[in-house]
Subunit: 130 residues, 2 copies
Amino acid sequence: MDPQLDKLKFDSSGLVAAVIQDWQNGQVLALFWMNREAVEKTIATGKVHSYSRSRGRLALKGESSGHFEIVKELLTDCDRDALVIKVEQIAGACHEGYRSCFYRKYEPGAADWKTIADKVFDPNAVYEKK
Amino acid sequence: MDPQLDKLKFDSSGLVAAVIQDWQNGQVLALFWMNREAVEKTIATGKVHSYSRSRGRLALKGESSGHFEIVKELLTDCDRDALVIKVEQIAGACHEGYRSCFYRKYEPGAADWKTIADKVFDPNAVYEKK
């Protein structure tokens, strides 16, 4: 019933891309997919919810780790088919233990992307073994 | 022949999402789609190239406007299926005349997204009429 959500243009799979950005230092933390329900729950709870394309379900970010993303600002673009969500990130956004998922840098001539960040938490200690 | 590009995971349409970010103030300027050729040309020329899903073709950003995006840093994420490209943005990234495409803000209870930026160029003067 939110007219602003009616104006978003979800793709043929019902999704928009959402850039998660640190509200204080501007670091891009993650890129998520959201369906309409994920956007609604993100707004209603003030915590980022995403839609996992591989699992086919909605998830509260931080549900298992406690590493919630508290919404500070929600923006959309000229085409209204993408979001930027500025957040307060608890601990780290990346399930690998990094603050940001974007911890790999391209270096001309290198054989592989270079890891340019240090882990901020130990994923083995945070996530239960499956 | 670039082993770092071989490690990227393009989706079933052959694309990755690329977040374009101002290398100096961290502002998210745009979200583009890139196929492998777009990534290769972006690296080879040092200027962002994107793949237009609607037009089905590769484009040099700034080709018609002169508003090029000069690559300063290229990052990928844990899953290697998304990019962050830090750029020096000439004039503005948005074809509507704004510095960033993300110029609309969600405001609870409002009927529409609120424009929170001023135009940095006049699109009518920059783009030829079609």
